[in-house]
Amino acid sequence: MEVMENLFDLFVRNVFTENMVFAYFLGMCSYLAVSKTVKTSVGLGIAVIFVITVTVPVNWLMENYLLKAGALKWLGSSFESVDLSFLSFLLFIAVIAAIVQLIEMVVEKAAPALYNALGIFLPLIAVNCAVLGAALFMQEREYGTIAEATVYGFGAGFGWALAIVILAAIREKLKYSNVPAPLRGLGLAFILTGLLAIAFMGFSGIKI
């Protein structure tokens, strides 16, 4: 029971207080570029949730059975002192690129409708910093179990999707207002994100 509570707490914390966009600025490029309409941002949001939830646990396995100091113990006692952690960037990004490619192929075969809806977003996700960022935070925070890593990944992805949908909704409404010309578009999107981030800071300190 307590385990479930901890996992739920982890999820809520990563959606609200430690939101990928508002607290760490990860995945900002696609966040700003794709948030013009709600429809496309929902598509991208779902794709990101999906990819982060799959890649974080896989990278957790990599970290714990391949990269970390002493992680290669299962090969025999002579490997105990091997520390491959300097290779983590390379391995993480390779895993992410491979999984994105794999997901793309599976989705294309199994669910062509979804594939068409996600369109160009799937390949773009390989270079979305939120995905690699989640893997690196997972490494830095040293999650103990694969369940924690999975829940962390899902929470981080969900938080990112939430952020992009909120911004897209506001930007859709803003089309009808008279904004100073130099601020139109990008400038305003930044200021809006800043204000949203201040609002999200209100969640900090909440514990469930």
Binding site: F22, A23, Y24, F25, L26, G27, M28, C29, L32, A33, F86, L87, S88, F89, L90, I93, A94, A97, A98, P123, A126, V127, N128, C129, V131, L132, G133, L136, F137, E140, P180, A181, P182, L183, R184, G185, L186, G187, L188, A189, F190, I191, T193, G194, L195, A197, I198, M201
Partner: protein
């Protein structure tokens, strides 16, 4: 000859203003915001990004005719990741405290969209020397915004520049206070929004419809 020279100069100058990677091309924003609380990490980050963009542009441009288009993204990522590992190890060896402050953001240079953006848009179709200059130019444009942003945030947020106090003690006695909000993440976004506003009011052809 002079024409060639002018063209190369343009590659260096354009990304500073008209095609600035951050404020115009919307590339590489994640790290630009997170590392700008103080000037020192921002400068180190700007230099690292400049080195990585320049050399990855060079390497990809050298191989642009042999890289099969279908797997080019993986190859680009591997080249970039290799360069980032080198930079990361150098930072850890020589400026350990700064590299601790930058935490995951050095690793995130790999997915910094400036890199993929310039590799795809420029290095895949241009000669090595031009690509190298384009990398330096875009790295410098990125660095320019990073330094402007971190100067503002450090000056207003903690009253210092590069770690040295610059606001005289007398000001504090008269009731001046450091603006703690400037250190927090949201103000980075708002400050960059204002920088874009200022840039576009001087450079009106950048205004969006």
């Amino acid at each position: 000859m002079i024409l060639m020279y002018m063209k190369n100069l343009k590659l260096l100058i354009n990304p500073l203003n008209n095609e600035n990677p951050i404020t115009v091309q919307v590339l590489g924003i994640c790290s630009a915001l997170a590392v700008t609380v103080q000037m020192k990490p921002a400068i180190v980050m700007a230099l690292s990004v400049m080195v990585v963009t320049a050399f990855s542009n060079l390497i990809i441009s050298l191989g642009r005719n042999t890289i099969p288009p279908r797997i080019r993204i993986i190859i680009q990522l591997v080249v970039v990741a290799f360069l980032v590992i080198v930079v990361d190890q150098i930072l850890k060896a020589f400026v350990y405290d700064v590299s601790k402050k930058l935490s995951v953001f050095v690793g995130l240079i790999i997915t910094n969209c400036i890199l993929m953006g310039r590799l795809e848009a420029f290095a895949m179709g241009n000669k090595p020397w031009e690509s190298f200059l384009d990398g330096i130019g875009n790295g410098a444009g990125y660095g320019l915004i990073l330094i402007a942003l971190s100067t503002l945030r450090e000056l207003l947020g903690s009253g210092s520049l590069l770690g040295h106090k610059v606001i005289p003690e007398g000001f504090y006695q008269l009731g001046y206070k450091d603006n703690g909000l400037m250190i927090l993440p949201p103000m980075a976004l708002i400050t960059i929004g204002v920088i874009i506003w200022i840039q576009r009011s001087y450079n009106r052809k950048l205004i969006e419809e």
